[in-house]
């Protein structure tokens, strides 16, 4: 099946980002296609490449970047939500791209299921 994932919250403060990551990983392991992961609202902070958690903690941004690298995932950050909060090309982590909200609607149309993780 074809999944689209919507991430509404930033890393660390809410488990939503971790849950979305684990779900995406599980869907891929089951052989499903993940059409797109879209980052909206505070979710855009997942793409901040300057995240530097303590050494015994996970780096949520890096987890996404690695998953994208390994599976050719399409990680899309909403341009409007990102601009407002200051997530732009200059601080974007590897594997993410910035685009419009239309990419989310398109994902909703193209995917068989859209699954939202938020607060």
């Amino acid at each position: 099946m074809k999944f689209a994932i919507l991430v509404n919250e930033g890393p660390y403060n809410h488990q939503a980002a971790d849950s979305a990551y684990r779900f995406t990983q599980a869907a891929l392991e089951k052989g499903h296609e993940v059409f797109r992961v879209f980052f909206y609202y505070d979710g855009v902070y997942n793409a901040n490449r300057l995240q530097e958690p303590q050494s015994d903690d996970r780096n949520v941004g890096k987890l996404w970047s690695e998953l994208a690298e390994a599976h050719g995932l399409d990680l899309v950050v909403c341009v409007a939500a990102g601009l407002r909060r200051g997530i732009k090309e200059e601080n974007l982590a590897p594997g993410f791209r910035i685009s419009g909200l239309g990419q989310l609607i398109e994902a909703g149309i193209q995917a068989d299921r859209l699954v939202t993780f938020g607060d």
């Binding site: 999944f3 779900f23 499903h32 299921r113 859209l114 699954v115």
Partner: protein
């Protein structure tokens, strides 16, 4: 038929209650993150979840139970414990997924 997901504590927010009022007979309900507390026997929320099992397939995410020190053996009767793979399967079995945020 929808799969409803709830991720907030039943004591802190109205998400579970609102979900239960809107899930049609036969719809699925998955409790994860802080919502797993609702599925634990002996709590005041447990009765609502037990009632819900009459009309709905109710699931709880194992990893979130474990993280919170909640024993899967203590989950309300009729609630099924699933892992992340099971969460993915549920999404495929129901027609769409609604998150009660």
């Amino acid at each position: 038929m929808l799969l409803h997901t709830v991720n907030k504590s039943p004591y802190e927010r109205n998400c579970l209650d609102s979900c239960l009022k809107h899930a049609v007979k036969g719809a699925g309900i998955l409790l994860y993150e802080d919502a797993v507390y609702a599925a634990i026997k002996g709590s005041t929320a447990a009765a609502r979840v037990a009632d819900a099992t009459a009309d709905h397939a109710v699931y709880v995410l194992e990893a979130d139970l474990k993280a919170r020190g909640m024993d899967a053996a203590n989950v309300v009767d009729g609630v099924k414990v699933v892992d992340y793979g099971g969460f993915v399967d549920l999404c495929t079995e129901f027609s769409a997924v609604q998150a009660w945020l």
